[in-house]
Amino acid sequence: MVPTSYYIVLSAILFGLGVFAFIFKRNLITMFMSIELMLNAVNLAFVAFSQALGKPDGQVFVLFVIVVAAAEAAVGLGIIILIARNRQSLNVERVDLLKL
């Protein structure tokens, strides 16, 4: 049996990759994908703990996360499409209207 720590380390690596990609990539689609990556890294950790502790709570949470991620994907992609239409670009540097 694979030790729980392996899963956790993998989850941490995936999460770190997501964070780095989110910060350093400029393309909105890529940033969106890195968010999905972070979510799934967390899902992996949940499932691993659920397995290790022998409790179903973690798996239930994972289902919730997937549902929310799906909804978020629908809304987020909609916003991205609108931005792409309005600016003819997916560069996040140009989405800064909230700046003071």
Partner: protein, 663 residues
Amino acid sequence: MPTTIFTPMLDYLWIIPLLPLLGSAVNGLLGSKWPNKTVTWVAIGSTGLSFLCALEAVREFFASGQVPFRKEFFTWIAAGNFRAGFDLQMDQLTVVMVLVVTGVGWLIHIYATGYMAHEGGYYRFFSYLNLFMFFMLILVLAANYVLLFVGWEGVGLCSYLLIGFYFLKKSASNAGNKAFIVTRIGDFGFMLGMLLLFRAFGTLDFQTLFDAQHAGGWPVETSGQLGTLTFACLLLFMGACGKSAQLPLYVWLPDAMEGPTPVSALIHAATMVTAGVYMVARSNVLFTRAPTAMLVVAIIGCATAFFAATIGLVQTDIKKVLAYSTISQLGYMFLACGVGVYTAGIFHLMTHAFFKALLFLAAGSVIHAVGGEQDMRSMGGLYKKIPYTFWTMLIATLAIAGIPVFAGFFSKDAILFGAFQSESGGHILYAFGLLTALLTSFYMFRLIFLTFSGKPRYDEHKVHVHESPWNMLGPLVVLAVLSVIGGWFAFPAFFKGPDYFANFLGPLFGAHKAAGGGTEAAHNLELILAGVAVVAAAIGLLVAYWLYSRQPGKADELAKSMQPAYKTLLNKYYVDELYDAAVVRPLVWLSTQVFWKAADVGAIDAAVNGIASGTTAIGDGVRHTQSGNTRSYAVWVVVGAIVILGIVFFWPSLGKPVAGMVR
């Protein structure tokens, strides 16, 4: 209540002050829309009813055998063992005061309906005047110092409002401020005196306090030992000095003549300014046990009487002469209290209320007649044109000058006799009192001769001299009658009979029995002193006659020959200028430079503005973090998460769940 006599009015004593309060409220709130006639009826009606109620209460007081009546209506302040209640009382002293206040007050209300008929703010005037009556009645009916102080401050307020009645006139509003601020200095002393009394005796109730004294708990504080009572009495007297315009604090009263003349008559001559005398007489139990304080009262009273009389000699404004005369007469009353003849002081208070109110009302009638002119140098020869005013004013002048048979003679005589007999410095006090009597007679007859005799000095084509309407003359006549007969209580005493007034007030003033003593020698002495006083008054009269009627112009020559003295008197000894330089200017400087420019602008405003501009500056710096760049926000989130994780990791105690979070 041991008495079985039915005393409805005494049981509802609060009705007497309440009626003027209602009148004031009704006139003040609704009067602006009403015609003058309605306002008049409300004002006259409420005070008149109050007068009738007072008469009934006095009748019941006599019917129940002159037992001091006292009733607690409700508790006003209760804190720890301190209680100040809305307690009213009716005793011999209150009887005199209530009758003077309501009676003279009512007459002056009637007079004012004529005097103020053509003035703006008619309803406002009567609302204030009624309010004054309310507070004055509270003052004289109160059964403890705290409630007395309520009336005390209330009459001060009304005095301020009425002096500044013509508030568009700068001098009038300034005079109002001056009166309020100067009397406030005295009130401060009064308050300290009350606190000292409470600290020493644990009560401010007259009966409890005075009974404790009578029980012998506190010895008489002779000059060697200055104790609590002496200081308390001196502080109380400081309050009286402010309210009754005595020597250091008298400066507001002459300026108070800016108010309408009925106000000068009611507040600044007949009633309010005598509140100090009333208070000292009311506290006689305390003062008697503090001879040093008594001596101070006598000296200040005597000095004020003389000092104000000298200023009165040269004043040319008819109301200013009367104002200084009022200060002088109040000095007499304090002299009486200081030498222990409280009855004479209160007697003079009563007769003074009659003849001084009459003098002011008659002066108002003169001013009315000559169209607002107050300078006596522009009057003259009014004798035939306004005969009623002339005769009533002459009667009042005879009364104040101390001519026999008239009211002032008896009371002034009693005071001088009391001063002569007092142990400490009595003869000096008497000498100054007598000299003051001479001066009084002189300046009052000077006023009469300047105003009524000789040739007219006003422009006869411009000024249409006319006698005042009946509602002004009526009160004059009534007061003239009172100025004649008001002193006759003391008539029998001159023929070795009982002194009714002194005997009536006697129970209140304990061992200090009426002047006269009763012995043959004392009686003869009193007759001699009375004779001397009459001679002094006659000298004053003759000098005034010679200078102002017989040889007009002689007075000016005399003034020229004594230029420095005349100038000093004309400028009232430069006391106003002295106060201005010594008190007002330093205070203004302190307020402007230190409190305004340094403390307020420099510290307080600077702190507030500093906080505001500092916040703006910080905000200005911080707002740059909101760049609008999504990735920089992400960095902040990550940094925050790392910091929190770091804290939890390296500082484990913070990571423990809070008690409430544990399931």
